[in-house]
């Protein structure tokens, strides 16, 4: 049995202490110890990005970080996204993925949302090409990406304070 280490970090704004083996991956700690099961595991070769969380202002694949590396870090998962504006309303990105049909099975969605969250902090007005390039670390099997691009554009407009309207023909009348 290898040594156990106490690790303290801030998870969605809340001080969190966990005791882990040094080999424990951050994704497993988040899911199994912190019971934040939004971040998912889609691969074991660091490609899919389903485990993406925001970590000290970076989008990281939490399957490729050790929990012990999170000592003192600020971690934001999809569970913390709705609370960001205060009040628990959906974040603009969550609303956008819903309005633009940017998800189907929902397995990549938590990682997509967290990656898009950081992308829009860094580039509030990305072109379509920039969205595709800077979201390339996240795979999706369902959507074909098209509506994810539209969702990120929708959220970008909303976050910039512009009027937003869904591009989806069946959704236009319902919100």
């Amino acid at each position: 049995m290898s040594q156990k280490i106490m690790v303290s970090f801030k998870l969605n704004g809340k001080e969190t202490d966990v005791v882990v083996e040094s080999r424990e991956l951050l994704i497993h700690t988040l899911r199994e110890k912190c019971l934040h099961t939004g971040p998912h595991i889609g691969c074991e070769t660091s490609h899919c990005g389903a485990c993406t969380v925001d970590f000290d202002g970076m989008s990281v694949k939490s399957c490729t970080m050790l929990t012990v590396q999170a000592e003192g870090a600020e971690v934001l998962t999809v569970e913390g996204l709705a609370g960001l504006g205060g009040g628990g309303d959906l974040h603009a990105l969550q609303e956008a993925f819903m309005q633009e049909h940017g998800l189907q099975c929902g397995f990549c969605t938590p990682g997509m949302l967290m990656r898009a969250y950081r992308l829009l902090q860094e580039n509030p007005d990305p072109s379509e090409e920039e969205i595709r390039y800077w979201m390339a670390g996240n795979l999706c099997r369902c959507t074909g990406y098209q509506n994810i691009v539209k969702a990120v554009q929708y959220a970008a407009r909303k976050l910039r304070g512009e009027a937003v309207e869904t591009s989806h023909p069946l959704m236009a009348d319902t919100h």
Binding site: S22, E44, S59, V68
Partner: protein, 288 residues
């Protein structure tokens, strides 16, 4: 997915890191961005008993201009390279190369030093560093030594790094203004290692190539420099036939492995094509 158990260390100084490295010998591995090492540990290809995390050493990060050199801390991340104004204006080849490495998340963690020290022929920085005539600073208990990139890569996953040494800094001679550059990379998809890639730096006088460096990625057991191809260009007017001859000579030094990216002939031919494209773009970017 699950690595073997190991002991984790997070030294707060370089001397502490070196002491740990010496104390644990070849059972220890340095942990940088962790985006090559942890994947290998998750598949049990690597099973170190000790991980020495360099993540708490701010001295190893940063990009600065010192005299006529650009000095980059080994723990500087790929995204930091891409977003560096100094590199964008003075050494855009690194930016162009780093933008073709992996994906955004990996680039927040993966470091320049780790990409180099890993010694994987699939990595892009080794060839970029050879094309830029970079040198690497290696620190041990005995002090520092500085070795050129050209010659640093000895074999697949093997470099001149000795036990007890840490790659601390990458030094790049400031590219002269007007120098042309290009990194041409063929890959199956975003985030893949190259089927073949070519890094080129080039200076021209009128329509003549006054100097050129060519290095190739993932078409041999290490990144390789194509010196015969360079020689065929140096002092010659830049035209299609001299470029074709350079591409042919570059292909002659290729020794790729056959894998899912293609067979030996295909990858060799693609190395030639990447050389042709990189030379053409580098020449067009150079000012006479």
């Amino acid at each position: 997915m699950i690595p073997r158990p190991f002991e984790y260390h997070a030294p707060r100084s370089l001397s502490e890191a070196i002491a740990l490295l010496n104390a644990h010998g070849d059972t220890a591995k340095l942990l940088a961005g962790g985006h090559s090492l942890l994947p290998m540990m998750k598949l049990r290809f690597a099973e170190p008993g000790h991980l020495i995390d360099l993540g708490k050493l701010p001295d190893l990060q940063g990009i600065r201009e010192v005299g006529n050199e650009i000095r980059i801390g080994a723990m500087t991340t790929e995204n930091a390279l891409i977003w560096s104004e100094l590199l964008q204006t003075r050494c855009p080849l690194i930016v162009e190369g780093a933008r073709q490495i992996s994906d955004p998340q990996v680039r927040y963690r993966g470091t320049l030093g780790g990409d180099i020290a890993h010694g994987d022929p699939g990595n892009d920085h080794p060839a970029l560093m050879i094309a830029l005539d970079a040198s690497f600073v290696l620190l041990s208990e005995q002090g520092e030594r500085v070795v050129p990139a050209d010659g640093f890569f000895l074999g697949t996953y093997m470099t001149q790094l000795e036990p007890g040494e840490i790659l601390t800094e990458i030094r790049i001679p400031m590219p002269p203004s007007g120098a042309g550059y290009c990194y041409a990379k063929l890959k199956r998809k975003t985030g893949d290692f190259a089927t073949a890639a070519a890094a080129v730096t080039l200076r021209r006088t009128g329509d003549t190539v006054s100097d050129v460096r060519i290095a190739l990625t993932n078409v041999a057991p290490t990144a390789i420099r194509a010196t015969d191809a360079e020689q065929a260009l140096r002092g010659k007017p830049f035209d299609e036939s001299v470029v074709a001859e350079a591409a042919r000579l570059a292909m002659a030094v290729c020794d790729p492995v056959e894998d899912l990216r293609g067979d030996v002939e295909y990858r060799t031919a693609m190395a030639g094509e990447m050389v042709r494209r990189a030379l053409t773009v580098a020449y067009s970017r150079a000012t006479a």
